[in-house]
């Protein structure tokens, strides 16, 4: 019986990075579909909006923490299954996602501020406005929020598709760099 030597386990991201990654992934995917459902909804609009605001602020906090964490920890080296072009794309898409994850909650906060509605979070707790009042400002920010949401959705989807292709097609164990439990 011959057994193929198992490929050496690739270096993992730090546990903090992995925990941040997965909690952010869950929140952002949830937030995107929540937002899409909310803007179409009637009866559930106010409830979804209330959750959307709180979740947006939590995502903003996590995004800043992640950014600091990312600047302090280098991720593990790219796998050899990734060519130079793919590495370039991966690097820039990572930067874009970090930028979007910080920018999108700020734009959401700013558009509520511009509409002159109190930025309510929970009960009487609200945040200060961060944009001047005015419908012209609101209109620009509201459009930007939609555009950024679709950009985030597209980059998330592309990211997941790429990881799935690596993991299922190339079987290079790319996903294992990010898993919490070292299965297999």
């Amino acid at each position: 019986m011959t057994t193929e030597a198992p490929p050496a386990a690739p270096a993992k991201f730090t546990l903090t990075s992995r925990l941040l990654h997965w909690s952010m992934a869950a929140m952002v995917i949830g937030q995107f579909f929540l937002g899409a459902t909310m803007v179409a909804a009637l009866a559930y609009y106010p409830l979804l909006l209330a959750i959307h605001r709180v979740l947006g602020i939590v995502i903003l906090v996590f995004a800043v923490v992640r950014l600091v964490n990312r600047l302090r920890h280098h991720p593990p080296a790219f796998l050899t299954t990734m060519g130079p072009l793919e590495r370039k794309v991966a690097t820039w898409s990572e930067r874009m996602m970090y930028a979007l994850l910080v920018l999108q909650p700020l734009v959401g906060w700013a558009l509520v501020s511009a509409s002159d509605v109190p930025v309510t979070l929970v009960g009487p707790v609200h945040l200060p406005g961060i944009a001047p009042h005015g419908i012209a400002v609101y209109a620009v920010l509201r459009t930007a929020h939609t555009v950024l949401a679709y950009l985030l959705f597209a980059s998330f989807t592309a990211h997941i598709c790429a990881v799935v292709f690596h993991t299922v097609g190339l079987r290079d164990g790319l996903l294992r760099r990010m898993t919490i439990r070292p299965w297999r």
């Binding site: 909804a41 609009y45 106010p46 009487p124 609200h126 419908i135 190339l170």
Partner: protein
Amino acid sequence: MPTPRLNRRDALVGLAAAGTVLAAGAGGLAEASGWLNTRRLTSSRFADRFEQVYGRHNGFRRNHAKGVAATGTFTSSGAGAALSSASVFAPGTFPVTARFSLGGTVPDAADQPGAVRGLGLMLQLPRGEQWRTAMINLPVFPDSTPQGFFDRLLAGKPDPATGQPVPSVMKAFLAEHPETAAAMKVIKASPPSSGFADSTFHGLNAFIATNSAGTSVPIRWSAVPMDPPGVSAPGGHDYLFDGLVERMHRGPVSWRLVLTVADPGDPTHDATLPWPPGRRTVDAGVITLDAVRTEAAGNARDVNFDPLVLPDGLSPSDDPLPQARSAVYARSFERRTREPKSPSEVDVEKVKT
């Protein structure tokens, strides 16, 4: 390190898996946005319906398009504090941004005695809180559900040949909606006043007031005019608005803010049902409007009178309308803020004083 080893089979499996992810994402987005079920009532379809029935009027609200801006104050008597801990009911005087409007989506429609009159209020409260409410001069709302309103809009669509709704269509609608037929009877029983200044404006929807002891009770509110009833004199194209502007040039106009308290068992879920007369009322204070302005950037034109912008101490009830109003107002706001603007029909400067 594993080396790249990609045969045709693995490539296809990888692509299929990635394609599944893509399809799940796109499908989820389509479902969330209501693209898959064209009969689902979404905020967009609601806003579309106003445009479908009366045309699209860029830059204006999808409903209550014709209006004029005003400002003033609300002086709270403190009496409302027994019902609600909301800052608006503590004794004090708060700035008010107001908008008088006519129901309908045509921003330059001629004033008619029977057209629905609206009063939107935005009260600036301490600690950055606000209270926004949009009231009308009908004693009850014609519809109990968003779907009923949506369907009634189409049933009331003017026939291009006559310019009037088709009677048989409206009759069929009313047969299916006895609650609307009953509400119409209540509405007919209280004919409109002569103008804006002597109109009673009703909040119609029930909200829950919670006081500092934590006791909650359903309330409805109205703005009851302090002007005596005038004599109706329908005249020019904008006679209601002109009359209001003339009246306000003579001095401030005031309304008492009256809170009506539900008895146990009074319906809170259905704005077509009036509460029995004789319910306890509380005079919460006086709304005084002392300046009227042509709609323009930065004044009430740019305010979304979202009925769910409430101070802490007021909250929604089981009435389904405010939620839908909040959603559709937001959609209307989102659309009109992007659209090119044109001057409003009512020009305060042009009204003879």
